[in-house]
Amino acid sequence: MDLSLIIMQLLSGIALGAVLVITALGLTIVFGMLGVVNFAHGALFMIGAYAGLYLASLTGSFWWGLLLAPILIGAFGMLIEFVLIRRLYGRSIDDPLLLTFGLSYILVEGVRIVFGSDGIPFPTPPQLIGVLDLGIGFFPRYRLFVIALVAVVLLVLWLTLEKTRIGLIVRAGARDPTIMQVLGVDIGRVWLAIFGLGVGLAALGGVLAGPMRSVNPEMGSLVLAEAFVVTVIGGLGSIVGAVVAGLMVGISISLVALFAPEMATIVMFALMAVVLLIRPQGLFGVRGRTA
């Protein structure tokens, strides 16, 4: 087995991990800050892909779809928070979980009614069709673009959370919402924005995944499972955890695929089991944290 093959394999793993990171990130942020386990996350990922496809065909450009779908679906997420989730804060963690679980069924069925249950093609943007010669092998341009875009999104997110006043409020709100309210911060608005951000990230993941897979109403269910595995490995609520675990899962799947391809899906669950045994709170999770 030569080195260039392993490097190509690592690259596929990183591209795979990039989409996992984006979707897991939305899930973990919403859980970390709001204590809501969003079971509709996979369905919103799927809705994002459909919205991206719809907007791209409406405007004639993939780039508008990529930009507008996360914003639009993010706004839809805020509506969900405002109308539904908000009423369940302070209740046990099961209530929003059941609510979002039910919501996911409604969303999937809704898409089936509007767009049908067959898969729909999501064309790769013309600028990114084809492969790039990396010297050691060929790699799809689109996947390289996904890696780059996810890196940029992560950087912006990190800078916002760590270096701006808004980020400070968000971080403080996650620690102690009561004190924030005493200090005169409207914590409800913060939560609204956070839920919108989480849903927007799911939609972004959906648009990015669109050109790599066929778009269909069930595409979110597998993604939800993967995103949960990644958040559990990384530690529920941990942003760094989601990034590290996402890449780790992507690369593990890829390297296992090289040696024992039929084990490629199982490896992610095996990894989760090992992490749970050794460090039940996840790699970057805080011990004993309750929502």
Binding site: D2, L5, M8, Q9, S12, G13, A15, L16, S117, D118, G119, I120, P121, P123, T124, G130, V131, G137, F138, F139, P140, Y142, R143, M212, R213, S214, N216, E218, M219, L222, V223, I253, S254, A257, L258, P261, E262, A264, T265, I266
Partner: protein, 413 residues
Amino acid sequence: MPKSGSTPKISRRTALAGLSASAALLAMPRLGRAADETIRIGFPTPLTGPFAAEARDQVKCAELAVKLANDKGGIGGRKVELLVRDDKLNAGEAATRTLELIEKEKVHAVVGALSSAVQLAVNEVTRARRVIYVSISQSDTINEAKDFSKYTFHEALNPHMTTAAVARQTLKKGMKVAHLVADYAYGHEMLRGFKRAQTAIGADNVGEILHPFGAADYSTFMPRLMSMRPDVLCISNFGRDQANAIKQAVDFGVKQQMKIVVPVILHNQRLAVGPDVFEGVIGGANYYWGLETQSKSAAAFNTAFKAANGGAIPTDYGAYGYSGVGSLLAAMQTAGGTDTDKVVDALEKLQYDLTKGPQHYRKCDHQSVQSVLVLESKKKSAMANDNDLFAILANDTGSDDMLRSCSELGHAT
């Protein structure tokens, strides 16, 4: 959902006894008029899940076969009714639904199932209860002696037939062949078929990669497949797996290096990823609407389907639903009713031509002997209209030589 039987303490056995007693009582005055009774056909198929598109077409075509029979006054004056059930692509679900169809709905026969494991489960139930089952799944393990029964019929093509036909069109002596295979019965059977054809042709196997069933991402298999440097890549998987695997192989530039070949090229999956992705992909098929220029039966089937479905065209897996139900109804017509042994006998002797030319069930294993198409997906610019998806490369006439021999399947000869 709670399972039934958890509430009042009436055992299932007493309940069944009671039920059948009252049913017998109700049926008594009608005994003399048994001929008026509706013919009920159970139809389990995976309406939800990754094969949903194919399943829905099966239902539409099965309904068409039933409608046409009823329009002609039914079978021996009896109306026909199709009872469709969602098997959710799950063997347990399929077994439960089939059992319900037989015991509660009292169906006279079962047609359906798409996936290999589900088909086996349905066959287990129908075999034990001596009910005719016409399978429309490509997997053919139920034709092997260990799972076979005289009530088991297999209307679909089988892996051996399709892979042999596709290999004949695509492989040459000395070619290097690599395989990407879904890791379950369907994939394994297709791989076995391809390898057998390869050996006969004299092509070399350069590698096999098994992928998990239902995977969404195939990128991790691509660098290794490309490093094998094959001339032909055979992708043996089904439904959305086929669309995703081909799409990602194309993204990785696989088509510049090698030809992509599939055992069964799927109409709906070609629609799901578009013409550019599928361009040049070659695969087998039981049916393609474009056959209408070569076959009168195909033209008639297309016309009937269009009339019933607002101008839409029938698909490959849809045609199975039509011929599966159609052949059964034809046999019932000959048998003069639903008496199982008589219908089995009629099916064994039946010569039918419903969608594409003559077909019959081979005596020893009840596999339908039929023609196999080899199709090539057209370039976008070569398509005359949106339905013009494939070019027909070959239309191999059905013959017993296409099948594995009866003795190889373990049947007494």
